[in-house]
Symmetry: C2
DNA sequence: TTTTGATTTTGGTCTAGACCAGAATAGCAC
DNA sequence: GTGCTATTCTGGTCTAGACCAAAATCAAAA
């Protein structure tokens, strides 16, 4: 379990302040030499630290000390910009593409419509202090929001729903699980293929229970801490 | 990117039904030979599949196809047993230890008490269909629940709070992030050291807002899917 | 049949390299 | 100083092994 020792060694470099947030770790070869091991073993140690959110990789760029993560409340109506600002980050967004497509199996299930129903698909990359942290895929039933793509959809869809269509967002159903980053999603996040991810899938409704959209979010795990408070009304008998 | 091909190859074995839930994959050496590669590369492929929740490892036992995961609603008052039953699993619990300790830094912060405040610490392992899926560490302020350890705390603490102390659980604050499994926690879950984990931290309150306990839960990622519905009342202006 | 002890298999971990393509850098021309 | 290009560096990926301890299996004894 040499790699556990190495892991702790690197962790203590961070805790002792020799490496600070967003700073690049020494090269793998240098670290391997420093800890008298091979790159394979070193990477095992770094991968474990990555799983704990202490460090992360940028594809072909190296390992970096992770800065504090953004607190993400899935039960709140606050959009990305608000949540980011509350945590002291400067948020920004980049529209990757927006187009009309037929709903895939996965999307059709989330939206509870037949496969191939016409929907708008909106892909965006979102950043905190210019660090890419999440890629989001929104799917909106075309019929409900005619001409949606003509509005400014880069920064906040919920603002457009509220201001342009008088449909404020008020209810959400969400799922969270772990996943991995592949292909273009990984590239946009400057992540290596196969890096771990937090997958958040949501279905959003407005006050009348009318469906707004669904979205699929691939987060860099180190960049997000999910946190919420819930008061529960329902009481269920125990088995 | 040979390992991506291998990953897809193994995934298709599962999708085609050649490997079914809970079944053990062939040995690493056999798979490496089948895909004409080395164990190192093969493990890279399997690790990625693990991150996606399709397979998981049991320490020194091998790789297994993951069964459907349990839906965990952090906002519900349902306890583990109820949630498990709802998903068609047979839940069981094992008390690892229960003792009185002084609150650590981490626990003190969660409970909002000074470090070293006397608390009960209750460690449990919980299973679905006899598969260990989560290790929970509960911390309860002693003063609030005198004699707690004399009750049956193996299966459900919330039941004891409600039935023995007339303090039903009604509100929760939760945090979710990724982590890794180490030491005894890993062993209890039959996981290898350094395996990925979902870390859920909760602070629970009863209806009057009185603090009940906090708990720290290390989940096998493949075993859990976090899911909830939230209707939001607060509306926050956009930045 | 059950228990126990011996043997084999297997995963966990590690070594010591290698090649390649993209990123970073240094150097040169404008 | 700016832009471009050649070179170097570095991470991504892979090979072909090795040793060990735990798990699984098998065989013998009770």
């Amino acid at each position: 379990m040499q790699y556990i020792t190495i892991k702790e060694g690197v962790a203590s470099l961070i805790d002792r302040g020799e490496l600070t947030a967003n700073k690049k770790l020494p090269t793998e070869r240098a670290l391997a030499e420093q800890f008298q091991t091979t790159r394979v073993t070193l990477r095992e140690a770094l991968t474990t630290l990555e799983a704990e959110g202490k460090i992360h990789r940028e594809d072909r760029r190296g390992w970096f000390v992770s800065p504090p993560s953004m607190i993400y409340d899935p039960t709140s109506t606050n959009n990305f910009n608000v949540m980011a600002s509350k945590c002291g980050f400067v948020p920004s967004s980049k529209l990757i593409q927006a187009k009309q497509v037929g709903a895939s199996q996965e999307v059709a299930e989330l939206l509870n419509v037949p496969v191939d129903t016409q929907v708008y698909r909106i892909d965006r990359l979102r950043m905190l202090d210019d660090r890419p942290v999440v890629v989001t895929f929104n799917y909106v039933i075309m019929e409900n929001f005619p001409g949606l793509l003509e509005h400014d959809i880069e920064s906040s869809l919920t603002d457009v729903y509220r201001d342009q269509y008088q449909k404020p967002y008020a209810k959400t159903h969400f799922q969270i699980k772990t996943s991995s980053l592949l292909g273009e999603t990984a590239q946009l996040l400057r992540a290596s293929t196969g890096s771990p991810a937090m997958l958040v899938q949501r279905v959003n409704y407005c006050a009348e229970g009318v469906l707004l959209d669904c979205d699929i979010e691939f987060w860099r795990p180190h960049a997000i801490k999910i946190e919420s408070t819930a008061s529960v009304i329902t009481t269920t008998k125990n088995n």
